[in-house]
Symmetry: C2
Subunit: 147 residues, 2 copies
Amino acid sequence: MSEKRLRDAIDTLKESGVRITPQRHAVLEYLLSSMSHPTADEIYKALEGKFPNMSVATVYNNLRVLKEIGLVRELTYGDSSSRFDCTTSEHYHIICNSCGKIVDFHYPSLDEVESLAEQVAGFDISYHRLELYGTCEECKAVGTEKH
Amino acid sequence: MSEKRLRDAIDTLKESGVRITPQRHAVLEYLLSSMSHPTADEIYKALEGKFPNMSVATVYNNLRVLKEIGLVRELTYGDSSSRFDCTTSEHYHIICNSCGKIVDFHYPSLDEVESLAEQVAGFDISYHRLELYGTCEECKAVGTEKH
DNA sequence: TTATTAAATAATAATCTTTATAATCAGTTT
DNA sequence: AAACTGATTATAAAGATTATTATTTAATAA
């Protein structure tokens, strides 16, 4: 199943005329297998063992390429660094303000909101983002919320 | 009207036991009067004339304080710097991928989405963000979209 | 009004993330 | 094999934000 997603993604890369280097393959594979919406630095550290000489720039370059093709989406929250997520299926995110955990949230796409926005603002809307913020179960229990 | 919003905001500051310094007052006033969701640097530059000796750190400190009290919200998009927005009334944002323009978008709050998220993820949801991305009228006309 | 004190500011350094640059390397084509 | 194209590495640079510290100041009460 995950294997199929990887093969599909690689096919997309080939169709786009993008070279499939070992580093690029590894970044893509890691993102597909990861459930944790990693930062560029986390990806870099995770692949350190397999590619001791890999540059951080390579991670950023590949994330940019994967983004441009549409295989990967960049998520920015209040914190310092971007997070990256494979755009396998449309979904939203729930973020814990206390521990930073990010949970996927599946909900029917808000198409009618997009339509209304097009009408009132005169935009062509191509996509949207929705994030819900709160406190996760564990942090509720511990009761050690930030701020 | 805008005067009233400023007075209300200052009352909130007083209630929170936060000092009302000239710089803090100016940052708050600028944010309230601004329709443009400015960055920290834009605020800093805008107040340069009135406060030639003000430090950038002061802008950041005050934005943090105003955020903690709940008067201001931080918005992060793909680009490098955060934008800041007075949380006067609940609304969403429409962002042009071509020129970066940000337009306010009023829509009934998605309370049922929050409820569902609480149920499926076990979170206490406190608020949410929704952003719509696309091409604004001007950029559609010019047809000079990025990427 | 003045004194007091905790908080805020200014100036600066430091950190952290991301991008840019240039040299090298690998795979492909001629 | 030589040349070409794009990717990678190493490193520098840029840009945003945070931390530090000495100084100043707003709020409070004597």
